[in-house]
Symmetry: C2
Subunit: 419 residues, 2 copies
């Protein structure tokens, strides 16, 4: 009689035969595995893309709450419509206009963070094997959704001016010619997650032209557009075309992610289907959170709050870039003009995923580059998120990181990368 494998017995899954095919594609994200590490106070986390909500004014949130309860308390506590609150949608019009985006209140839908907007859009468009074109690297949460939908994720060459129009055309035409359905281009044109790069105005026009010509829907995800450190970024792609672009926005980075309030602006026929999908998935977006955001926008200097965030993150970005220059001379970094992230490229042969446990013993955490690719690339990349720790701790974290990286570089130079 064979010995009983207790590990197997404990993990026994009575329902293993019963899962849907798509369940195979639910992978543990590389960011998620870090959660337990990140929460230890002695670790400087450059991992999760969290805003610094300590810069919010608690009194204003309290005032917004009180005003909401006094004027619309029972409304806030009740179910709402699947599309979201009309007043909040009007306020969102105002916010989108800051980036040149104009759309009807009827075509805006509120979502449970913009992540859920992307989930609903992907569910609406992606059959198994359909192609999604994305930046190289691309947002980890988007890669996860596309993988879950069993889509083919095609990374398109991206440099410090954003996604390359030439490479985009080449990839799209090649895939269409070989019989693939290229359904959408997903991109974060401003201060991208994870690269920090911004798509130039010229390239926005070219990208739009290519997608129009080839019948590819553009999903423009813009959580960071207002968090610029110098000049404003170019106007949104959606400002150039109201039929070929689905536009995603969020209150997570300009206000608070704990409320989970995002939004999507879509052409009418798509929006109509998205509302049905939203209702099917959650009945209605949380009225309470929507009302609180709406009151906050109504009574506060919310643009002043965004300016506060800008100054804060600029200081942290500066700290991050100085520290990289000082402690990581052999590492390439992007130089973002806004947002939350640096994208580091280590010398060939280094593996950022293998290095992570070493980094954690040095009390620093980050996200390995492979998380941002659907095809295994990114092994010698690291995403550094500078938004959450203090500027001082950003520098401390990068110094700690350099202990690991520089030692690995030295080892590789001495013994070769195969060692």
């Amino acid at each position: 009689m064979p010995e009983i494998d207790l590990t197997q017995a404990t993990n026994f899954d009575l329902w293993k035969h019963s899962y849907a095919a798509r369940a195979e594609n639910l992978a543990v994200s590389e960011v998620r595995a870090l959660f337990s590490v990140v929460s230890r106070p002695e670790v400087v986390s450059l991992a999760g893309g969290m805003p610094d909500v300590s810069a919010l004014d608690g009194d204003l949130i309290e005032k917004a709450f009180q005003s909401m309860m006094a004027t619309r308390g029972n409304y806030a506590l009740q179910y709402g419509g699947g599309q979201g609150d009309p007043r909040l949608r009007e306020q969102i019009q105002e916010i989108m206009a800051l980036e040149g985006v104009h759309g009807s209140v009827e075509d805006i839908m509120i979502t449970t963070g913009s992540q859920h907007a992307l989930e609903l859009i992907s569910d609406l468009f992606l059959d198994q094997g359909d192609v999604v074109l994305v930046e190289a690297p691309s947002y980890v949460g988007a890669v996860g959704i596309f993988r879950h939908k069993e889509a083919h994720i095609e990374h398109v060459f991206t440099d410090d001016q954003g996604i390359s129009p030439e490479a985009l055309r080449e990839a799209a035409e090649r895939l269409i010619e070989t019989g693939h359905k290229v359904k959408m281009l997903y991109l974060v044109p401003n201060f991208a997650n994870p690269s920090g790069v911004t798509l130039t105005a010229e390239r926005r026009v070219e990208v739009l032209k290519i997608c129009r010509e080839l019948g590819i829907l553009i999903v423009e995800d813009n959580p960071y557009g207002q968090l610029y450190f110098g000049q404003e970024p170019p106007k949104a792609i959606r400002s150039l075309d109201d039929q070929g672009v689905v536009y995603l926005g969020s209150f997570s980075k300009i206000f608070s992610p704990g409320l989970r309030v995002g939004y999507v602006l879509a052409p009418p026929a798509i929006r109509e289907k998205l509302v049905l999908a939203n209702e099917s998935a959650i009945l209605s977006p949380a009225t309470f959170a929507q009302m609180l955001v709406s009151e906050y926008l109504a009574i506060s200097d919310w643009q002043g709050q965004i300016a506060t965030y800008r100054d804060l993150y600029k200081t942290k970005r500066d700290a991050a870039l100085s520290a990289v220059q000082q402690y990581l001379p052999k590492v390439h970094t992007t130089r973002p003009d806004g947002g939350f992230f640096l994208w580091l490229t280590l010398p060939e042969g280094l593996n950022s995923k293998d290095m992570l446990p070493l980094a954690v013993t040095e009390l620093v955490a980050y996200t390995p580059g492979t998380a941002f690719y659907g095809d295994g690339r990114g092994a010698n990349n690291i995403r550094v998120c500078f938004s959450h720790p203090t500027a001082e701790n950003v520098a401390v974290g990068i110094k700690r990181l350099s202990n690991v990286i520089n030692q690995q570089i030295e080892l590789n130079e001495t013994f070769g990368s195969g060692s």
Copy 2:
């Protein structure tokens, strides 16, 4: 040259060729079409299943908010973990124990209302053509999700003691024998939506036995269990089996639906996948709403609030039953011992969907029975929701409804149902 059809031009969908196959199954729910009607103050709505949140104590919610902001404000405003707050999960253990359900904090996950729990479970298990067994009638939101997943929805005969074990076995065996994958049984055992009936203790044991034997997962949805008007309902099916049952609960009916906080308790292997799916869909459930519920539970007499709801809904149920007896002598009604709903059966030949516009001119709204079937049945049924209007208005609404129904009965008796 043919004339241009302007209607068609306005509804033109540039992306019609591009949708996924499953998008075909996004139907406008019959409840949703009523939203604009229901919001008119002169209409008595017996339609949407909304709690009477005016019975909540606003001061307590304010105290919960202040305590939360003082002690854990920055936590509430930040992203959280995909599984939800550990303290709230402990409090949920206490709530579930009221119905005999005991499970590890590790196996509870917080969701955006229990609707999203059902969406995630369905996405995890249902491939196209897989069978879901449901009550006859079944919850409209569940029918919508299963249809969206392209599942085969099989309604099993249900009487005033709940779903019939004999019919369940017959349907399951027949479908398995004909090569179908029967993946799950979905049911609302206590004061069901829409029928109001409760599954007897004896039948719970039998249903569980059948599902165990045939390898069918039970999804037990229990939003109304604590809203009993006399005796407590039998213990949950989950109290009898921790491996074959996924258990759903919600704060929507015992506290507030505007916060969108529900939960699921699942066997470890399923729970693990559900957490990944939750993270993929929304990153993390709203920390703010979770903290507010958690503080509310910590500082308030929440069981007292549930008792208040019980008394209130019992009064409304009594008003509804008296009014049906008085004004609708030829209509059969279920006699629920808890929850929100009566299920009316009109004489053969009447069509509740066709009657709805007439009802609206009489200033009353309801949900037609067909909404609760995936197969077109329910044409002579009506769901009456008595939870939201005042008891007086419940009676007024049913009297208005009787004007339409009794006139239709008379017409049918005079001219025959084919007229």
